[in-house]
């Protein structure tokens, strides 16, 4: 029986993100991108790309200086 693959989902706290782009740069599967919209602080926050599969490597949460990323799995 094949092992069931875990599904991961990354969620960005958009109002706290300062748009430093470190997570976007270091994300290997390119799940994250810089949004064209601004948040209340005036930064282009990071956002997940629809249709890309997060592999749960946690590198985005490792490099994030502001703890805005949360990775969920099921």
């Amino acid at each position: 029986m094949a092992k069931k693959k875990k599904k991961y989902q990354v969620i960005v706290n958009q109002e706290a993100c300062k748009g430093c782009n470190l997570c976007v740069e270091f994300c290997k599967p390119e799940v994250l991108r810089t949004s064209e919209n601004l948040n209340k602080m005036g930064y282009n926050y990071a956002e997940p790309v629809a249709g890309k599969d997060c592999n749960g490597c946690m590198i985005c949460t490792l490099v994030c200086p502001d703890l805005v990323l949360e990775v969920y799995y099921e």
């Binding site: 430093c20 782009n21 740069e25 490099v63 994030c64 200086p65 703890l67 969920y72």
Partner: protein, 249 residues
């Protein structure tokens, strides 16, 4: 749906830090908060804040903290550790604080072998006051007080304070790390864990120098400044363990 990364217990929740985008302080703050939780030290920790960008760190850490006068972090940490040897004492300092105005305190507390941990954030400029030249600035580095580049004949050479204190007998552990890539961030966490364990085992002074990005004052974007740490700053300040006296007691 389950959460994979829990919020660190000793980091205040839902606080947006005052640090600039891409600043290394946020990463080191998170690492320290995670380690205090993992090593079960948070309840008996006193942190010492510097003057500098990290002056408001007591707004972010959920531990007891005290604010030191400019450069006097290790002097205050000495007092706390001598009065209460059962506590875990952590001095968090920047390069303008530790290696400029606080050189005397740093060198003598290291020479006395005081048993606390120093986390030294080196970003090669004075961050909070607007990017002036620090003792750790590189040769030819342009800052607001050296607009034509740092000139050795006038301003001297970059000060390697961690290399200096690593020569002392009282220093049990000294390492230089950086936060420029996921690999280096993992090594930073390991190094800070070793330094904390050195203090828990009562072996002596431990200092971790972290090469950290300051994109605002370096006038670079965040990715470029990570590359600048790897290619330029790490050439002047090579990463690695400088002294390790664990197991020699």
């Amino acid at each position: 749906m389950k959460l994979k990364n829990e919020w660190p217990k000793y980091y205040k929740k839902d606080v947006v830090t005052h640090y600039c985008p891409g600043c290394g302080h946020g990463i080191v703050h998170r690492i320290v908060a995670e380690l205090l939780e993992e090593m079960d030290l948070g309840k008996r920790t006193i942190g010492v804040n510097p003057a500098g960008c990290a002056v408001l760190a007591y707004n972010y850490f959920d531990i007891d903290m005290i604010e030191a006068a400019h450069g006097r972090g290790t002097a205050i940490a000495t007092g706390i550790k001598r009065a209460r040897p059962d506590l875990f004492v952590l001095s968090y300092q920047g390069d303008g604080d530790l290696s400029a105005i606080g050189t005397a305190e740093t060198i003598h507390s290291a020479n006395r072998g005081e048993k606390f941990t120093v986390i030294f954030i080196n970003n090669a400029v004075y961050g909070m006051t607007g990017g002036q030249m620090a003792p750790t600035s590189l040769i030819d580095q342009r800052t607001t007080t050296s607009p034509l580049g740092r000139e050795p004949g006038v301003d001297g050479y970059p000060l390697h304070i961690t290399d200096i204190v690593s020569e002392f007998k009282g220093v049990a552990y000294a390492e230089r790390v950086s936060v420029s890539s996921p690999k280096n961030i993992r090594r930073t966490k390991k190094a800070i864990e070793i330094a904390f364990q050195t203090q828990v085992d009562d072996l002596g002074y431990s200092i971790i120098e972290v090469l950290s990005a300051c994109p605002t004052n370096w006038k670079m974007d965040t990715i470029e400044s990570c590359k600048w740490i790897d290619n330029v700053l790490s050439e002047e300040f090579p990463l690695g363990v400088l002294t390790d006296k664990r197991g020699q007691k």
